[in-house]
């Protein structure tokens, strides 16, 4: 195992991502997208620049046009995106899409799709959840073989970037009952195919998600083996959750930094409110919790890069702890900002509004605490 520190290269990537996102995708940019009711939900120009920086190919091997920087590298970008509330299809495409194709795609698919992702010409979206709360086993969407392809029927929700994706990666049942792990297949479906209906949903963080309905929609093809998709899906979700944990770390840290600054500056009863021990102790506790999050996040990312046996447990550890602490940090952030924290004018509330969907997506604290317990035998 490598030490729990960044390599020089990873640190450089982090610094570059930080500079770029602060300048091109800061909180003000999220406000602009929101207030102008932007239909895409992110800036295509900014995304193009991120592609130019090689960020879209971070998880893609060099053979297929990526940089192969890996999960730890990508985590640095997500942490900085969390700090800036930067919107982009990085998760849907460069993490979930890239991981799915890389893990399950055949040679032809890899060649075609990974290259397209790395060069920014393809946006993908993962359509996995059907229940309101994350449950990847609960798949009632059905795919039936017809001719040389499949016909898909069902309904998916919380499909991040679903309304702008070129291709959807859909988990569907080719056999088995509702909660069996066997019989789930992953399929590629063109978003513009007949029978695909995509409703964009405006979430509390103003980021993209969609409800997607398949009504006899024709799939382009299988990704991986028929009926064996669940194992792939789990690994794709682990990759996604580790990055979401990194984003939550960024959200928590930025909320905290801004709050500490406010405590240092804001005066009441003639002194700075940061001089009140009641707030000092809560801030110090929160500092400690964030230190813990830093450790679990880097460990989970490293485990993915090492393809370690305990990756699932380490990812659940990271997502659970990061979710818990981001919730605490954003709540404390609003409370310590007092009335101003409740206003839309201040940024602090936006961190809270971003944190909740990130916590929920692919399982919140409760889901991952339970999974962690199960993976540890209780």
């Amino acid at each position: 195992m490598t030490g729990l520190v960044l390599t020089e290269e990873q640190q450089m990537l982090k610094d570059a991502a930080k500079r770029f996102l602060q300048e091109r995708a800061p909180v003000a940019e999220l406000r602009r997208l929101r207030d102008e009711r932007d239909e895409t939900g992110f800036s295509r120009d900014t995304w193009a620049e991120m592609v130019d920086m090689g960020l879209a190919g971070t998880l893609i091997p060099e053979d297929f046009g990526g940089t192969g920087f890996g999960h730890v590298g990508m985590g640095q970008v997500f942490e900085e995106a969390g700090r800036n509330l930067s919107a982009s299809p990085l998760l849907s495409t460069a993490v979930l899409g890239a991981a799915a194709v890389n893990l399950a795609g055949n040679a032809e698919q890899k060649q075609a799709l990974l290259g397209a992702i790395a060069e920014g010409s393809l946006v993908t979206a993962l359509a996995a959840d059907e229940a309101p709360r994350h449950d990847p086993l609960k798949v009632e969407t059905r795919a039936e073989a017809e001719g040389d392809g499949y016909v898909v029927n069902g309904r998916k929700q919380f499909v991040v970037d679903g309304h702008v994706a070129d291709k959807l990666i859909v988990s569907a049942r080719t056999s088995g009952g509702s909660s069996d792990s066997e019989g789930i297949s992953l399929l590629l479906v063109d978003r513009e195919a007949d029978g695909v209906d995509v409703e964009r949903t405006i979430m509390m963080d103003n980021r993209n998600a969609a409800v997607v309905t398949f009504d006899n929609a024709r799939a382009e093809g299988l990704l991986g083996e028929e009926g064996k998709g669940y194992a792939v899906l789990e690994r794709v979700l682990d990759a996604g959750n580790a990055q979401l944990a990194a984003e939550l770390l960024g959200i928590a840290q930025e909320s905290f930094d801004r709050t500490v600054k406010y405590l240092q500056e804001r005066k009441q009863f003639g002194v700075t409110i940061g001089s009140f021990q009641g707030l000092q102790h809560r801030a110090a506790h929160l500092f400690s919790e964030i230190e813990l999050v830093k450790s679990v996040v880097i460990r989970a990312l490293q485990a993915l890069d090492e393809d370690a046996d305990d990756t699932p447990a380490l990812v659940s550890l990271a997502k659970a702890k990061a979710s818990e602490v981001a919730e605490l940090a954003t709540n404390e952030g609003v409370q310590m900002h007092g009335g101003m924290g409740m206003t839309d004018e201040f940024d602090i509330g936006l961190f809270l509004k971003r944190a909740r969907p990130v916590q929920q997506l692919f399982g919140d604290y409760r889901y991952h605490a339970s999974r962690y317990a199960r993976l540890n035998g209780y």
């Binding site: 309101p132 709360r133 009441q268 009863f269 409370q335 009335g339 409740m342 339970s370």
Partner: protein
């Protein structure tokens, strides 16, 4: 039959006859609430009728004296009236800061003139009030207020800025704390004054909250003329009245965590969202968390009852209101977070008919303010530590 029994029978009969059917359904949205005032648009003819009929008997303020338009009822009768209204799920005929806050203060501290001028229109829902307490930059340090009222003989000229004035953009009059004497210790030298929001120099601007709604405003006061007879109580002695009003407000906000009549309990919602397995909530992490909340909430509800019972039996309530405000608002925040989480994706969508325009997440976001408005949780804890526990 006792007098009280007879009163119950008469009240029941009167309500049966006079409370319109549509006013016997749960209050589900802000539009279902009747706030009255000059510019209020009634949601329905029934809503208007219900207010008028109740106001005519003074039952919008049932315990106020009849000479000022109130119902003149005894404590026991008020309780019977409330029970009988609850029995048929009657909506409150009027939501009013006049009845809840400034009315009782005028009754207790105001001159005869102020009582006659202001109380009857409050009872009838003709004048809607807002509260001018907080100021930008002051936060919890309420006594440090900067809005100045300069003595001009028969009137004051007021200059300053107020913030967090609930519905100031919809209100007709404001009760407002101003500094009438800058040369004394900060709690002294404060007065509580009343003025019409249409007075020249008063402007107001809604503040957009993180929940997307704008229940609060900033109010700017530029050379606003306030007659001297519109001071409640003595000049420079407003702080006592302000504290009296704050206690009222705290008790009101502390009740936020309670489940309203007709609303599903949190555990019912959880069962609906998460399902049961062998009679237990299917998600064991949620079950543990929910049981913890449920126990605290029931204990809090019983504590509200106990405090009321103790007050009735003459035992001092002490500074219970600070404790109730602190605990009740923290409970409600926990509840709202759980509702969002148990609804998963559906609890995160912010717009759209299908998701009730994001009622669930907006309500969660709004709840974050409960522990800030009306005195932050930190201030309540300070009050408990100092006033009850004697820690200084």
């Amino acid at each position: 039959m006792t007098d009280l029994e007879q009163f119950r029978q008469e009240t029941r009969a009167w309500l049966e006859e006079n409370c319109p059917r549509s006013m016997r359904t749960p209050v589900l949205s802000a539009e279902d609430q009747c706030w009255g005032g000059r510019n209020f648009k009634f949601q329905s003819e029934d809503q208007r009728l219900w207010l008028e009929r109740m106001a005519e008997r003074g039952w919008t303020a049932p315990d106020w004296p009849t000479e000022y338009g109130g119902g003149g009822l005894s404590k026991e009768q008020v309780k019977v009236l409330r029970e009988e209204m609850d029995r048929i799920n009657a909506r409150p005929p009027l939501h009013s800061f006049g009845i809840w806050m400034i009315g009782p203060a005028i009754l207790k501290f105001g001159s005869e003139k102020l009582k006659q001028q202001h109380l009857p229109p409050i009872v009838r829902g003709e004048i809607r009030w807002c509260q001018g307490y907080s100021e930008p930059g002051a936060g919890s340090d309420l006594a440090g207020l900067q809005t100045k009222a300069v003595d001009q003989g028969d009137h004051f000229i007021v200059n300053g800025q107020k913030i967090w004035t609930s519905y100031a953009d919809k209100a007709d009059w404001m009760f407002c704390l101003v500094r009438t004497n800058p040369d004394v210790k900060k709690q002294l030298g404060i007065s509580l004054v009343l003025f019409d929001m249409e007075t020249p120099g008063v402007t107001t601007r809604p503040i957009k909250l993180i929940s997307g709604s704008s229940p609060f405003c900033e109010t700017f006061l530029e050379d606003v003329r306030v007659e001297k007879d519109q001071v409640v109580g003595e000049v420079d002695q407003g702080w006592t009245i302000a504290k009296y009003l704050l206690t009222h407000e705290r008790a009101m906000i502390g009740g936020f965590g309670r489940t309203a009549a007709g609303e599903k309990t949190l555990s019912e919602q959880a069962v609906e969202c998460l399902g049961l397995e062998d009679g237990r909530l299917a998600d064991d992490m949620f079950r543990a968390e929910l049981a913890r909340w449920d126990i605290d909430a029931k204990a809090f509800e019983l504590t509200n009852e106990r405090v009321t019972d103790e007050a009735k039996s003459g035992q001092g309530v002490g500074a219970a209101s600070a404790m109730l405000k602190y605990y009740g608002t923290e409970l409600n925040k926990r509840r709202q977070e759980m509702i969002v989480a148990m609804n998963g994706f559906d609890g995160l969508v912010f717009e759209g008919e299908q998701w009730d325009q994001g009622a669930v997440p907006r309500s969660m976001l709004r709840s974050k303010g409960n522990s800030i408005e009306g005195g932050t949780s930190e201030i309540q804890l300070n009050v408990i530590a100092r006033n009850i526990l004697g820690l200084v």
